[in-house]
Structure formats: C-alpha cells, structure tokens
C-alpha cells in the first residue's frame, strides 16, 4: 500500500525567519510543505516556519564560503 502523502509519524523541521513571507519563499524555493507559521516572541527572527517531513535546509553558497574561511 503506498504511503499517504502526510505521514503522521514523520518528523517536522523548524526554521526561524524574519517574517511569514520568508516561510512561503522557503517552501517555494525548496519545494517543501509548510504546515505552520508561528510567532516566536524574538525581536529579529520573529517567526518559526514548520515544514513537514524529511526536509533539510540546503547550505547556501554563502554558508559554504564561511566554513571554508
């Protein structure tokens, strides 16, 4: 039997963001499933974006450069 689209046992992933639009942009950019957007109470990263499943935040070229320094 094929696995249902939303596997309820599957993990979530959480990414902080400056605003809710960043969450939608991440979903579009990485082809993810955005299942919740929450306020954090922090002053800079004001929202949490919660994605379904085995998503992994790809390292940007910028991050890779930083590690190589």
């Amino acid at each position: 039997m094929p696995k249902p689209r939303y596997d309820e046992e599957e993990n979530k992933l959480r990414h902080a963001a400056a605003d809710d639009d960043c969450c939608e942009e991440m979903a579009e950019k990485y082809v993810w499933q955005l299942v919740d957007v929450e306020k954090t109470g922090a002053s800079i990263l004001e929202v949490d974006c919660v994605f379904e499943g085995k998503t992994e935040f790809p390292k940007s070229f910028y991050d890779t450069d930083q590690e190589e320094d």
């Binding site: 959480r14 902080a16 929450e38 922090a42």
Partner: protein, 143 residues
Amino acid sequence: MRKWIVFRAEKRQPGWKDRMYTHTGSLTKTLFEHYDCSDEALPEPGYRPPEFIRVDQFVDLNYPEAKTHYRQSDWEVVRVEAYTPEIPIGMGFDMIVICYCKHSPINAPLKPMPERQVSIDSFGGDKAAYEQWLEPQKLPAEV
C-alpha cells in the same frame, strides 16, 4: 505545485463558539492551513493535521512565544475537494484543496519540536541582515 490546503470543520462539530479569527473575532470553520509546494499526493481521509503546542516548562527564553511540542490533532480528514484554475497562468496558487474534518479526539502523545535552524533564507536572502545576526552568535559565552 503551489497548493493552499485548508482544513475545515464539517457541520455541527463541537467547539464552534471558540473557533474564531483573533484579529477580527469572527467565527470560522477553518482549523488549519498548509502551503504545500511539494509534488507529494494530497491528504487523504484518515489523515490528522498536526497541532503545535507551547509547554511552559520547555520554553526557550530567547523565543518565549514559540511552540515547544507537536502532535497529531483531534481532527480527522473525512473528505477532500481540489480545485484548479481554468487558466493556470499568473496565479498565486496552482491548486486549492479543502479537507473537511470531523472532531475525533485521540489524545496523541506530544513530540518535542526539532532544533531551530537559521540560514540566509531566514532573512529572505538578505546577506547583510544574516551577517548582522551571526555576529553575536560568534562571541564566546560569558562564564
């Protein structure tokens, strides 16, 4: 494919007086919404959308309002409708999906939220803002 998935209470489900938009006070049947840009299949009857919960004793003081746990909700999908635009050009969504739900309590176990990740995408690609955020993170912790 950009899908707006709305989870909506069926008629005459309990708790209707408390389901309201906080910014207007208007009652609503909307329970949850997802923005799904994946190519995965749609939700099916039997699926329970997750709910997110804040447990005071686990709150991170740097993110005092953030949720700390999640679990399967007490709402179960019973029927799914999908709508696509007639002319799918320049539209905000490629599909609107309505998942009708019934209240079916299960008291699912809580799971801790995963660690919070941060990258340049957290700042909408704004490299300067990301660098500014990184600076204090590099400082050694005071003893």
